[in-house]
Amino acid sequence: MIVSVQHYMVVSAILFSLGAIGVLTRRNAIVVFMCIELMLNAVNLTFIALSSHLGNLDGQIFVLFIMTVAAAEAAVGLALMIAFYRNRESIDVEDFNLLKL
């Protein structure tokens, strides 16, 4: 039995769930951000595994665009965190409560 596409999908599902646990449990905003990157990478692995399985290149182009959006997100998100830290001296997500009634 050779390594099939299902193996890659299972690894990707496990990584996605780990990222989801991290997003829901951690309170440090940067760690939450890194967990989001982990989830994006799990999706990238799914795209590339299926693209190579189906012999179609479109999935890999999508991965390229996902990486572009992730880079833009990283730049803007980290700038937001720096701005927030300057105001509140903390990046705990429990302190993100300016809009709370």
């Binding site: 989801a20 012999g55 730049a75």
Partner: protein, 170 residues
Amino acid sequence: MDILQQLFFYVVAFVAVTSGFLVITCRNPINSGITLVMTFFCLAIFYVTLHAPFMAAIQIMVYAGAIMVLIIFVIMLLNLGSSVVIRYRHAVTGAVVASGLMLFQVLIILKQGSVNPVPGSVSAEMVESVGHTELIGKALFTDFMLPFEIASILLLVAIVGAIILAKREV
């Protein structure tokens, strides 16, 4: 040969999942970042075994090179200690249960569903003879021309937005 290939897959998958687990359990954000880089490298190895070497190079350059350096730079700039305050116990339990259910659901879908291959034109031999970069470039500049240009605008907006947001007085 097959058993060797499978063994290699399992070793890399084990390292990827273990370092993914360490990302969410490490107390210090720097350690989380370094283990995340390890996960990225494992995924790059997967891309190579999936006959997508250009994607592996991009993965290492963009993710492990650019994005992680940015994140680690910000962690060091903000001088975050390792004083981790975990959420309340019931929140952690709820999150683990929700994610476990999600994983269970995905595994059931994977087990029951099947991918019926309508074989496309791209095969491993073709990638080897033509070159992966050439194939990606050709697709990017013919079928995906408009999304490619929109991505460049998105990056420009991100650059300007990051400078505006992080500037001292707006």
